[in-house]
């Protein structure tokens, strides 16, 4: 079965092609169901591949399927080739699995949109690109997927392109990501120069075999991390992700929460031997950036009023956790959290979409409240997602977040720094529990504030929030199940329950850093963190449900510390002016010099003015004649002197 892993990306590609050709004729909902079916078929193939892989002995769980030679020139030989190993298949499993659920959900969510089939064209193209990204055997195939998902992200964010904000957000996402892509490209150049190949196996085995020079490994790590910062929305390149919420909500769930934004984490895990070979400050930088992003985004999420913006900043924050894990050498924990996060964040986004759908496109949480009775299933599943992300045991998020914090706490080589990062991580976890509680209360509990504004919706007649159709609720229920039990992937109790660790072990054993923590420490950390998270939730209930204390939501937090505003100002003013100045120089200095010479020649030739009849063809004739004369002169001279 491993020989047909190319089927996994091919199936969504087929869906894409069919919908390009027939999408309009299939229409709503058939084209959407077709797209979902293709994604589901890819999931089944992935599942079969997975079982095939599991049935093999550990050292044989790797398979390369080469389709054709893509770019063969000189020393460079890049194949269009796929790699099936525990890491890529784990990624493919949750991409196709969650992808299928979100495709189904979108059939309901996008119902009635005039560009219904086009939406699924893009969605299948995205699934294809994302699968290329994770299944690629070399960096260039990954880069193809990397840019492909970026392009799809651009197309889907600006899906409602007549809206100026959506168009701007799409462009911003693409251009910001390109900054990261520059890093990715430089990393590929470095890798090619160092090991003469772009395949991961060559790069990683050079790192493990000690032939990769330390400084090169550091440069590759940092450049790839720059790429990851773009794609996975880390400081300082995160700015595109909150704006990306302009896209339809299924897009936010699939691309900007569950799959695409985790690509950077995947990439870092994939090259973990290179990171391990780099100078120790390189992983430390990754951990610092991750922790800083986690904290930064969590503080911003506390003061957001848009239901999707809270989740967007929350995603940035959770991705920061994953990079903290990567920097701490806890690659399994990073992947574990990526998977559980995919479950509960997709659930939360889809839940928010269900709310928005039921609220007739209202996204402001200040105009919600008390929706649990009108949308019981949405509310119930959303609450499960909330408990999962807040770190309440035994929900999925608790287990994975705990592993990351433990890895930071027990980091052996640089305890002082990583203890600080652990503190930052813990505080972020508390903030997470706080702002998610705030969101749940504002949306589903308290007073129904939407009645106050019923006048605004006069055009709709009676404004009454309603529960979403079954096709949207089914994915919510499935994902909430996963959010409850997701932790079983890697329970820390005994060696045999650490399933994900054993599964990924062969790929990460070189880079994985074993922490030093006693059983007591581990228990203490887990229980303590959980207790503090519950306390933090209690505080939020105290403030928002009971209204016992004034909510503290300073404007500077709502504005995201004004960072995004500063960047926009900088690009719009000094940046723009510098560009304009360059164009001025081009017009007046560079071209001015050319025209100056021309004018000078013309003035000195004023005597010959009479020849200027004003007819273009006469000038041409003169010029042409001149050429002939010059030619003749050179030739005659040649003959005269040498002939």
């Amino acid at each position: 079965m491993l020989n047909v892993i190319w089927l996994i990306p091919l199936l969504p590609l087929c869906g894409f092609v069919i919908n390009v050709v027939l999408g309009r004729r299939l229409g709503d909902p058939k084209s959407g169901l077709l797209a979902a079916a293709m994604c589901g078929a890819a999931f089944i193939v992935t599942l079969v591949t997975y079982f095939d892989l599991v049935s093999r002995p550990e050292e044989a769980r790797q398979h390369v399927a080469t389709i054709f030679s893509w770019i063969p020139v000189g020393g460079l030989s890049v194949d269009a080739a796929f790699l099936a190993d525990p890491l890529s298949i784990t990624m493919a499993l949750f991409i196709t699995g969650i992808g299928t659920l979100i495709h189904l959900y979108a059939v309901g969510y996008m119902h009635g949109d005039p560009k219904f089939s086009k939406f699924f064209v893009y969605l299948n193209l995205f699934a294809f690109s994302m699968l290329m990204l994770v299944l690629g055997e070399n960096m260039l195939v990954t880069f193809l997927g990397w840019e492909g998902v970026g392009t799809c992200s651009y197309l889907l964010i600006s899906f409602w392109h007549t809206r100026e904000s959506a168009a701007t957000a799409g462009k911003k996402a693409f251009v910001t990501n390109r900054v990261g892509d520059w890093g990715f490209m430089i990393a590929m150049f470095l890798a090619f120069q160092a090991v003469g190949s772009l395949s991961y196996s060559a790069l990683n085995s050079a790192a493990m075999g000690g032939t990769l020079v330390r400084s090169t490994a550091t440069a590759i790590t940092m450049m790839l991390f720059l790429g990851a910062c773009g794609k996975s929305a880390q400081l300082p390149l995160y700015i595109w992700l909150p704006d990306a919420m302009e896209g339809p909500t299924p897009v936010s769930a699939l691309i900007h929460a569950a799959t695409m934004v985790t690509a950077g984490v995947y990439l870092m895990v994939r090259v973990n031997p290179v990171i391990a070979t780099a100078f120790t400050w390189a992983p430390a930088v990754i951990a610092i950036v991750g922790a800083a992003t986690a904290l930064f985004a969590a503080t911003v999420a506390v003061a957001q009023t848009d239901i999707k913006k809270v989740l967007a900043y929350s995603t940035v924050s959770q991705l920061g956790f994953m990079f903290l894990a990567v920097g701490s050498g806890a690659y399994v924990a990073a992947i574990f959290h990526m998977v559980t996060h995919a479950f509960f964040k997709a659930l939360l986004f889809l839940g928010s979409g269900s709310v928005i759908h039921g609220m007739h496109h209202e996204q402001d949480m200040r105009r919600m409240g008390a929706l649990r009775k009108l949308m019981p299933i949405t509310a119930g599943t959303f609450i499960i997602g909330w408990l999962a992300i807040a770190g309440v045991p035994p929900f999925a998020g608790f287990w994975s977040k705990d592993e990351i914090l433990l890895a930071a706490w027990a980091h052996p080589t640089n305890p002082a720094l990583f203890k600080v990062l652990w503190g930052v991580g813990l505080f972020t976890a508390l903030l997470t529990a706080f702002y998610m509680t705030r969101q749940v209360i504002m949306v589903f509990f308290g007073k129904a504030r939407w009645e106050d504004h019923s006048g605004d919706h006069g055009a709709h007649g009676d404004f009454k929030p309603h529960e979403s159709p079954a096709i949207m609720l089914l994915p919510l229920v499935a994902l909430s199940g996963l959010s409850i039990v997701g932790g079983v992937l890697n329970l820390p109790f005994t060696d045999s329950t650490k399933r994900l660790l054993h599964w990924l072990e062969p790929l990460v054993h070189f880079g994985e850093i074993e922490g030093h923590a006693s059983a007591g420490e581990k228990w203490g950390l887990a229980v303590g963190t959980a207790a503090l998270c519950l306390a933090s939730m209690g505080v939020a209930i105290f403030v928002y449900q009971r209204n016992r204390a004034q909510a503290v939501e300073p404007q500077i937090l709502a504005d995201g510390w004004r960072y995004d505003r500063f960047v926009s100002w900088f690009m719009g003013h000094p940046g723009r002016q510098a560009f304009e100045a360059t164009a001025w120089v081009d017009r007046n200095i560079v071209d001015g010099a050319v025209n100056g010479v021309a004018t000078g020649v013309r003035r000195s030739g004023a005597v010959l003015r009479r020849t200027q009849s004003g007819f273009v063809r006469n000038y041409a004739l003169l010029i042409g004649g001149g050429v002939v004369l010059m030619l003749a002169w050179f030739l005659l001279r040649a003959v005269g002197v040498f002939g």
Binding site: L2, Q62, H63, G643
Partner: protein, 530 residues
């Protein structure tokens, strides 16, 4: 080099459009329909011949193929000497295919007869330039090209056409004059080493031993002419004017193949004839190329005229090609050759589409356009594909060339490659911003009636879109033909200068059960067979 005794296909390829021009001139000017039909037929024949040429071209061979050599002016060693190799074959094919597209894709609006005739003359000149293996013959074709383009801009262009045409002509002429001096001197000096007078570039390249200082002067004489043609910063300012004022067909051809006369010339003549000087001036050319990439992109960003924006993007793209030419690695040089084609296709298509916009709206001002995606979604999709190809998204053609150029350049000129790679960020910026302003948003009244892509326009663009996808997914088909000639050229440089191309050594990897498809295995065998 093998003499071909069969049908002189290359000579026929040059003569077909030339004869076409004569035939068209003989038709009454009251029959524009007949003129168009004849012009299309002749360019169709050239297109068919160029495809036949590509099909019979032997891949994996480095030397000149289909050579057709006849003495012309014996005493001076000038001959009618045509040939194609991996470096020129695709340029010849692109020239063959672009004319029918340009003729079908854009109208003359007035004076159809001279318009068609000049276009055909132009095609003969461009084809001749790409195929000439004789310096003098090349110069003749290179100059012939100027005249029709001058008239096309000057008579069928937009409001500022006379200024633009004159500037184009004079600017290029100054460069050409230097080249003429250079090429005559080259032949005369080479005579001392070879023993007889010849303009055959292969004889000169292998037989001559120029003193280093002489070689450098000669290099400069050629380089300035080609730098103007490319155009390389700071000789680029004629291009935005020429592009903006030229009729659509003129812009398409200018961007599609004429600028490549410069990059092709640098590779074919400068590097081949003066390897020592090429190595010597390498830092200068690399620097100008990188400046062009960044500077062209920055200036493109703030343009208000859509056509001017695309013109400046050409300055940036052509910078990549020059960068790859002077990196002296086989991947960079192959990438450059490929990028000449890619840029021709993508930018050619962009100019076609901008032409269609200005036909419909009678303006090229970005500020006057808005929300076109809503009223013309198919038009917008096609434009998006072309734009993404120009931005360099992998899977489409533009990426392969750029990536090869940058990877190869990184091996020999690391920091230049690092800066040049930043050009990809700017490319996304100027194109997406322009796209947003033109296609996104709610269309206002003037743009409400924007016509959707017609069937004819779609058919004209179809081969270009197909090429964009094909070259991005399976560039091997091109690279197999390009690479041997590029390698031979680099081997020539290595032999003459003692330079050694750095080739990264692949670290052997032990991979468990490496399954290869049968196709791939066959290709590997094929390579070993060579």
């Amino acid at each position: 080099m093998s003499e071909s005794t069969s049908f002189p296909i290359l000579t026929a390829l040059v003569l077909t459009p030339a004869i076409g021009a004569v035939v068209v001139s003989a038709v009454s000017k009251r029959r524009p329909d007949l003129v168009k039909l004849l012009a299309l037929s002749f360019s169709g024949i050239s297109a068919a011949m160029s495809i036949w040429l590509l099909c019979t071209f032997r891949s994996g061979e480095a030397g000149m193929q289909f050579v057709s050599k006849h003495a012309w002016i014996k005493p001076w060693g000038i001959s009618w000497n045509l040939g194609v190799d991996g470096i020129s074959i695709f340029l010849v094919v692109l020239t063959g295919l672009l004319w029918p597209i340009a003729l079908l894709g854009a109208d003359a609006h007035h004076d159809e007869k001279p318009y068609a005739a000049w276009l055909l003359v132009l095609q003969a000149g461009v084809l001749g330039s790409f195929m000439s293996q004789d310096l003098f013959l090349f110069f003749v074709f290179f100059e012939i090209v100027l005249v029709p383009m001058y008239f096309l801009i000057g008579r069928w262009g937009y409001e500022g056409r006379v200024y633009a045409a004159t500037k184009f002509f004079l600017y290029t002429m100054v460069g050409s004059a230097l080249m003429l001096v250079g090429l005559v001197t080259t032949a005369l000096l080479a005579r001392r080493d070879i023993g007889y007078m010849t303009f055959d570039i292969h004889e000169i390249a292998t037989g001559s031993q120029f003193a280093a200082s002489t070689g450098r002067w000669l290099f400069l004489a050629f380089a300035v002419a080609f730098a103007v043609k490319v155009p390389l910063f700071p000789f680029h300012t004629w291009l935005p004017d020429a592009h903006t004022q030229a009729p659509t067909a003129g812009s398409v051809i200018l961007a599609g193949v004429m600028l490549k006369l410069g990059t092709y010339g640098l590779l074919r003549f400068n590097v081949f004839l003066f390897p020592e000087a090429s190595r010597y001036f390498r830092p200068l050319l690399l620097t100008l190329a990188v400046i062009g990439i960044i500077y062209g992109a920055i200036v493109a960003t703030v343009q208000k005229d859509l056509k001017r924006l695309v013109a400046y993007s050409s300055v940036a793209h052509l910078g990549f090609i020059v960068l790859g030419t002077f990196a002296f690695t086989s991947s960079a040089a192959s990438g450059s050759v490929m990028q000449m084609i890619n840029h021709g296709v993508s930018t050619g298509a962009l100019f076609l589409m901008v032409g269609m916009i200005s036909e419909r709206r009678h303006t090229r001002e970005i500020a006057q356009l808005r929300g076109l995606q809503k009223v013309a979604p198919i038009f917008a999709v096609v434009f998006t594909v072309v734009m993404l190809s120009s931005i360099g998204v992998p899977g489409l053609n533009g990426f392969v060339g750029e990536f090869l150029i940058l990877t190869g350049t990184f091996l020999t000129a690391r920091w230049w490659a690092v800066v040049a790679a930043a050009g990809v960020i700017l490319a996304a910026l100027y194109l997406l911003w322009a796209y947003q302003r033109v296609f996104h948003g709610e269309p206002d009244e003037a743009n409400q009636s924007f016509r959707e892509l017609s069937l004819r326009e779609g058919l004209v663009l179809l081969p270009m879109i197909a090429a964009i996808f094909f070259c991005g997914v399976y560039p091997k088909a091109m690279l197999d033909r390009i690479e041997p000639s590029v390698k031979a050229l680099l081997a020539h440089v290595e032999e003459q200068t003692g330079y050694e191309e750095p080739v990264p050594v692949a670290v052997p990897v032990s991979e468990p059960e490496h399954a290869k498809d049968t196709e791939h295995a066959a290709e590997t065998e094929h390579k070993e067979g060579e």
